[in-house]
């Protein structure tokens, strides 16, 4: 799955074959091939890492660690399967490990001024405020729930792939996405109402 593909869009067969070829070349030490994989998945890896680690710098460090860890594990990648979920599992683990190591503090309650959803002077500021509120709300969710909703609604992975990424049953993923959406949709609805 391409990082820039639309959510839910199935991975074209040719893209998967191309990725398998890029992996094969990367494994042989081809810098350009590895660079193309990094470019293709950088944004997605950083978003997923940020779903776990609120600090953008920590998230980038985790995403970088994940790419380098993936490089050392490329020989274990099954080219018959899509590369994205395999990489995202490494990203999620790297982010979780980093969060544990650094003992990142639990999210604070939503700031009062953000909960109120007051009007902002311009669209840019409104988007920034909404983004901040969503990040705050996301941070209040359990980690697995955060990852599930981001992987499903942002990255477009199907439940079955997310189950493999998170190492949980598919039904658990459905439940996690459901609960996360309920919370986040409520936030969006409040935001719209307040505007």
């Amino acid at each position: 799955m391409s990082a820039e593909s639309q959510p839910g869009a199935p991975l074209p067969r040719i893209a998967q074959q191309e990725e398998a070829e890029l992996v094969r070349r990367s494994l042989a030490g081809d810098r350009e091939a590895f660079g193309r994989l990094v470019e293709r998945y950088a944004a997605q890896a950083r978003r997923v890492a940020r779903a776990v680690l609120r600090n953008p710098d920590d998230a980038d460090d985790a995403a970088q660690d994940a790419f380098l860890a993936a490089l050392t594990k490329l020989d274990r990648y099954d080219p018959g399967r899509p590369f994205g979920p395999w990489l995202m599992r490494i990203v999620a683990n790297a982010a979780t490990d980093r969060r544990r190591r650094r003992a990142v503090r639990q999210a604070e309650p939503l700031a009062a001024e953000l909960v109120g959803g007051g009007r902002r002077p311009d669209a840019e500021a409104e988007r920034a405020a909404l983004g901040e509120r969503l990040l705050e709300a996301l941070a209040q969710l359990p980690e697995r729930r955060r990852l599930a909703v981001v992987l499903f609604d942002v990255e477009g992975y199907p439940h079955a792939e997310i189950a493999r990424i998170l190492g949980v049953p598919e039904g658990t993923v459905r439940s996690e996405v459901f609960h996360a959406r309920r919370r986040l949709r409520q936030l969006l609805a409040d935001w719209k109402e307040a505007r």
């Binding site: 959510p7 660079g35 978003r47 953008p56 380098l68 996301l138 459901f178």
Partner: protein
């Protein structure tokens, strides 16, 4: 939450929520991040050839050490064998003993000149 709510809720991605979350999580300066990862990739690759070079050096080092050890053994053993041609010839005066045999049964290494003489003599 009813069972119907749960079953009918999450089969497809929610474009509105997905877009809002994507905007919130969207990282900045993608090119800088990619460059950073590739710099680490280059560092990692630079380490591997260094080890390969060390491995090659190790191979040559072992060979050199073996040669040195052999040379040292030869030097230590000098004097205990029929090192000179004269000694070899004397040893060869015994019935059934050639110069070459005398050199081979000696306890120490022969003098190169002796070996040469033995070889030349054998060719005659």
């Amino acid at each position: 939450m009813s069972a119907q709510d749960f079953m009918g809720f999450d089969h497809h991605p929610d474009p509105e929520l997905g877009a809002a979350l994507r905007a919130a999580l969207e990282p900045r300066d993608q090119a800088a991040f990619v460059a950073r990862v590739m710099a680490r990739f280059d560092q990692a690759r630079a380490v591997v050839p260094a080890w390969e070079v060390l491995a090659r050096w190790a191979g040559r080092g072992i060979a050199a050490a073996a040669l040195l050890a052999l040379a040292a053994a030869l030097a230590l053993g000098r004097g205990q064998a029929p090192g000179s041609l004269d000694e070899a010839l004397i040893a060869a005066t015994d019935p059934g003993t050639s110069v070459t045999t005398a050199l081979l049964v000696g306890e120490g290494p022969p003098d190169p000149g002796t070996v040469f003489a033995a070889v030349v003599g054998a060719e005659r």
